[in-house]
Structure formats: structure tokens, C-alpha cells
């Protein structure tokens, strides 16, 4: 930045005023899958909004997937404070009179502002323009942070105890420092592969708030001294790719990635790469091979990516959510949070933001999202490499290290532990890349053993131990985890051939 004058402020000053009544149509992947556009038309919502001169805005899912198809009506008063109300499940009917009341400027409402500042605070509120993102605070943290030196940024990240949100929970600050210590050129790889069944929070982040990710990337590039960034996005996340590419173009055109906004001598180069399938492609060394044009198989570790990553150079590999979370570290509230993807036997499945400091219990969380605890025998955390938490342990606090990437599947009284375990084992078998023997052969043997009527638990345990110890990457290393957890937590399900 050449002067202390805020670049963002100039952008906002030049903007024209918006209309004061808005109808947000939550048309993300969730909205599309529930036919939101035709539902809106059928219910007369579009017609009503037009008759009231409300601006109709297509936006993303706001994380409340259970409410899809949904719309949010919003009105802004003279003081710029907004009143908004979401109308859920409009396919089941919508009270047009109530919708009209929000959009109609002649009706008065108590002002309502939830003051959200966390990771999901902009979900479902943006219209896809750069201006809307900046108005909602995008790049404000980067602008502040660019006035500090790299050292203090690294310290701040280490102090925050932010850890890798892809599931491994490696300390982010330490990772950045390790890469920064090494001679460049340095690379940043954003892991947006998100191929773990039951996890859909990165897709929501990409669709709903791509500028937050770009802001996180800019901060990392500055703090670590990154020359080139690759954003590796799951090839099936079409909306996410589209949304991120649009945001990137907006950022580039507006000058955010240029000298007007960035600190002196800093240049940012971001390239998007689409994946092409395979659970293993979410493994960090597989992504490196994929970007280099090699076969997508894992590498030996060490060397670690912070020493020898892309083309043998120091590389930071961060999950989408980790980089997005970086932008929340300089605000007073809330403390670091974690996104969780909730599905299964629950009234309100979707993407939720929970405290990452272990202050929330499973009971507290499940009740807050509408669970009837007596009908929940257990939850499954983290899909095919996850573990079960049974009802007896619901009073325990939610610890980041146990939660993986944040996939929470709620079981019902009808759930068959054996079926779920077999289904997860089958998934690991199909997704094994075949590079190392313990995983290639082990996942097949594990599925076979589990499908027996009387399962030889001793053999299962031995096999899992070999896979844990000898697999090249965590797909094989953790494939036995849900099986072990199922045997531990539900011993009655398993009739051992040994007994």
C-alpha cells in the first residue's frame, strides 16, 4: 500500500446506493436440489417481490440446508440497519402476507441485527458481487494485517492455536513458520478437495463466501512469503469452482491482488485446479503429485511439504476452512470456531459453526440443532476414517482433535452399526489408490472379514494394526478406525469367531 488511505474505503465510497428492500433467494447447491426457482415462481414469491419493487438477489445456501428451499426477505432502515427474516421450506407453503410485511417499506419493524462475525456470518447474504462482499467486511482484516510485519502475524496465528481444519489439526501457525524459515520460492496449496463422505462445509464456504478464502490466501502469502498459490477444488463441486473463479476475477479486476492493496513488493499469483475424483486426492501429498502432473498417489513422509513440497520447494498446504478462519483471528469475538457438517437423524441438518475451544458439549450442540436425544443412540464423527460417540458420552466437551474434518452423522434407533461399518469399509476399499500394499490389500481383506457372519475380531485387530503402521498415507492408516471404534462401542454387534 502506498498510503495509509484505506483502499477498501475508496471502493465503498464510489459505490452507488442499493435498493432498501431485498429478496434473497438461497440458490446454492441446496437450493438447486430442491428446485428453488420454480418453487418461488409457483408460490407467487417472485411476483410479490416485483410488485413491491424489492430487489431480487440470487445468493448461496446460508448453511441451514434443512430449510431449503428458502428465501430471506430484508429491509434496511434510514440508519442502514437491516431487518431480515428467513422463510423456510417454502415448498410446503409460504405466508405471502408475512413476506410482504418485511418487504413493504410502509410497514414498521423492530430492527434486528444478529451481529454475527464468525465464519458463516456472510453465508446467504451476498449477491455474488465484489461490492457486497466488501460491504460485509471482506478484506478488512487483510488491510489491517498488511500494516504489521510478518513476524507478528505468525505469532498471532500461533497464539490463536488455530489448527488444520481439514481434520489433521496440525497447528497452522507452526506450519506457516516452518515454511517461512526455508529458502524460497514457496508455494501455498489450498486443499478444497473435500472428498470425505458426510462433509460439505468447504463447498458451502466456497459457494457462500469465496472472498473470505481469498482474503485468507492473501494473508498467508504475505506472512509466509508465498510466490504462487494453487487452489485445488473437488471436480464435482461445480458451483464452488464457479463461485471461487468469479470471486477471484473480481478481486483481480478490483485491484485487491495488485499493488494498490498489497504491501510493497508483494505479488500474488493464484491458479485454480479442478480435481477429478478420488477420496485419496484430499491427502496433501497426493494433491502435490496431482498438481505436478504425476499420478495421484501419496508420497513418503518425511520430507514434509513445508520442507519439500511442490517441485521440492517449501509448501504450505491448508484446508479451505483453515485459511478462511485466519480472517477471524483479529476480531474480538467469537474465538476460533469450527464448521461442522451435520446430517442423519436430526431435524435441522446443515452447516454449523461451533466454538473450537472445547466449551460446548455434545448434548448442548445436539439439543441446539433440534435432536431428540432419547432417539439418538450415537453419532459418527468423520466418516470413513472416523469414530462413534455413544449417548453415554454426550456430556463430554467437543474437542477439536476428535472431530476430524467436522462431519457429524447422527444415528437413529434403526441404524445398523454393522451395516454402517461395512459401508464405510467398502468405501475405503473402493477409494484405496493401490500404491501401497497394506492399504490396497488390507482394505479388501477388512471388508471380507467384516462381511462374515461371525467376525474374527482378533484377525480384524491384527489387520488394522498392520494397516495403521505400514500404510503410506492416512487413508490406509485410518481405514480401520471406524471398525475399531464400532467394536469397542458396540461389542454386542460383533459375534467373534474366536469365542
Amino acid at each position: 500500500m502506498t498510503s495509509q488511505q484505506s483502499f477498501l474505503k475508496t471502493i465503498l465510497d464510489e459505490s452507488s446506493k442499493h435498493s432498501i428492500a431485498k429478496l434473497f433467494i438461497h440458490k446454492g447447491t441446496c437450493g438447486d436440489a430442491t428446485d428453488i426457482v420454480s418453487v418461488c415462481e409457483k408460490q407467487g414469491i417472485i411476483e410479490l417481490a416485483m410488485s413491491l419493487n424489492a430487489e431480487i438477489i440470487e445468493t448461496s445456501c446460508d448453511g441451514r440446508c434443512w430449510a431449503a428451499p428458502s428465501v430471506t426477505a430484508q429491509k434496511i432502515d434510514d440508519g442502514g440497519v437491516s431487518y431480515s427474516r428467513r422463510f423456510d421450506r417454502i415448498d410446503l407453503g409460504v405466508k405471502l402476507k408475512e413476506l410482504a410485511e418485511v418487504l413493504d417499506l410502509s410497514t414498521v419493524h423492530n430492527v434486528f441485527d444478529d451481529g454475527a462475525t464468525g465464519l458463516t456470518s456472510r453465508f446467504g447474504q451476498l449477491d455474488g458481487t465484489f461490492l457486497a462482499a466488501v460491504e460485509h467486511g471482506a478484506y478488512g482484516v487483510a488491510e489491517k494485517v498488511f500494516r504489521q510485519d510478518q513476524k507478528s502475524i505468525l505469532s498471532k496465528i500461533e497464539e490463536s492455536k488455530l489448527s488444520g481444519r481439514g481434520g489433521a489439526h496440525f497447528p497452522t501457525g507452526l506450519k506457516w513458520r516452518l515454511a517461512a524459515q526455508n529458502e524460497g520460492p514457496r508455494y501455498l496449496v489450498v486443499n478444497a478437495e473435500e472428498g470425505e463422505p458426510g462433509v460439505f462445509k468447504d463447498r458451502h464456504l466456497l459457494e457462500a463466501d469465496p472472498h473470505r478464502l481469498i482474503e485468507g490466501i492473501l494473508i498467508c502469502c504475505y506472512a509466509v512469503g508465498v510466490e504462487k498459490t494453487f487452489v485445488y477444488i473437488n471436480g464435482q463441486a461445480h458451483k464452488g469452482i464457479e463461485s471461487f473463479m468469479t470471486a477471484l476475477e473480481q478481486a483481480q479486476n478490483s485491484g485487491i491482488t495488485g499493488p494498490k492493496f498489497l504491501p510493497e513488493k508483494m505479488a500474488v499469483d493464484i491458479e485454480v485446479r479442478a480435481g477429478a475424483g478420488g477420496y485419496v486426492c484430499g491427502e496433501e501429498s497426493v494433491i502435490l503429485n496431482s498438481i505436478e502432473g504425476e499420478r495421484p498417489v501419496p508420497r513418503f513422509k518425511p520430507p514434509f511439504a513445508t520442507d519439500e513440497g511442490l517441485w521440492g520447494m517449501p509448501t504450505v498446504i491448508n484446508n479451505v476452512e483453515t485459511l478462511a478462519a485466519v480472517t477471524t483471528l483479529w476480531q474480538d469475538f467469537p474465538p476460533p470456531t469450527k464448521l461442522v457438517s451435520l446430517s442423519g437423524n436430526i431435524a435441522r441438518p446443515g452447516v454449523y459453526e461451533i466454538p473450537a475451544d472445547g466449551t460446548l458439549s455434545w448434548n448442548g450442540f445436539l439439543l441446539s440443532v433440534g435432536a431428540e436425544l432419547q432417539t439418538v443412540p450415537a453419532i459418527l464423527l468423520g466418516g470413513p476414517s472416523g469414530t462413534f460417540v455413544t449417548r453415554e458420552k454426550f456430556d463430554e466437551q467437543i474437542e477439536m482433535k476428535n472431530i476430524g474434518a467436522g462431519g457429524i452423522f447422527v444415528l437413529s434407533p434403526n441404524s445398523s452399526i454393522k451395516e454402517i461399518t461395512n459401508s464405510l469399509a467398502g468405501y475405503n476399499e473402493r477409494e484405496s489408490c493401490g500404491e501401497c500394499t497394506p492399504c490396497r490389500e488390507g482394505t479388501i481383506r477388512l471388508t471380507q472379514l467384516l462381511q462374515q457372519e461371525t467376525v474374527n475380531l482378533k484377525k480384524v485387530e491384527e489387520l488394522i494394526e498392520v494397516m495403521e503402521e505400514a500404510s503410506l498415507c492416512m487413508l490406509g492408516g485410518m481405514a480401520g478406525r471406524p471398525v475399531k471404534s464400532a467394536i469397542e462401542n458396540f461389542p454386542a454387534t460383533w459375534i467373534s469367531a474366536e469365542q
Binding site: 447447491t29 475424483g277 495421484p296 446430517s343 454402517i420 459401508s423 464405510l424
Partner: protein
Amino acid sequence: MIPFDVTADDAGDRLANLEKQLLTLPSRKSYLLPAFHMAQEYLDWLPRESILVIASHLRIPLSEVYATATAYSELRLEKPEYGAWYVCTGVACEAAGAQRIIDAIKIVPEKFGRTDCQFLCSLAPICTDHRGKILGRLTENRVRALFLEDSGDQQTS
């Protein structure tokens, strides 16, 4: 999009066009996956001919290009057949009654396939219809209604 057919009249033109498109990518190994995407987007699958063109543009041995292409589950090395409905059989969809959807679709067996998790667990059970559209929170009745609608469409068209 019409899948590439080596016996079709336009086969030569399409390959020549692909070669031209590939020129926009730097001739470096790192662009192998983007080249696959480019070819698959244009030809709908990766016929042998396209692999040859990619290998020659990026100067990578053919065997290596094949080895890499076979490692990605979303790259199609065979001409795709369309018209099937794919039911997600991830854990959340199975719990939400994927089997009932499968039974409803199975009435027309040639129209049925299964997929692993499609990452829309919050709207389970889901299915991708024959046009590639994702349908969330699916019920057997809705499947039946859609099938009726579809056969109606075909009769009128």
C-alpha cells in the same frame, strides 16, 4: 454434448479443435490434469485419440498419460451411456431411505445406477437424474411422478 465418436464425420475436426485448444495450456507436465479436463469437457470422454494428442502436446510418454488418466475416477476412458438415474448410497442417504428410492427406480432397470457420497447429506436421500440434475430430499412418490412426467415428455416430443 454429443460424446466423441471416432467413426463420426466430425471426428477429425473435433480432434483438430482439441489440439488447438490445448495450445492455450503451457506445454508442461503440470498441466496434465487441466488438459484432461479440457479434453473431457470438449469430447465428453477421453478416447485414445485424445490421450495421444495430450501426450504429444505436453511431451509426456503415452504410458504415463494413461496411467495417470486411469487413476482419476471422474475421467471417462469409455464412451458414456446416458439416461440412467444415479442414487447416492453414502451413509446419510442410506439411512434416509436410499433403498426405497432404488426400489422405485429399479422398476425401469436400465435407468439405474449407484454413486458414493455426493456431499449433499443434509438433503438426503438424493439422486442424480438422467439429465444430470441433483434431486434432494427425494421420496418414492416423487420418483414415480418424475418417471411419469418423463415418459409423458417422450410421448409428446
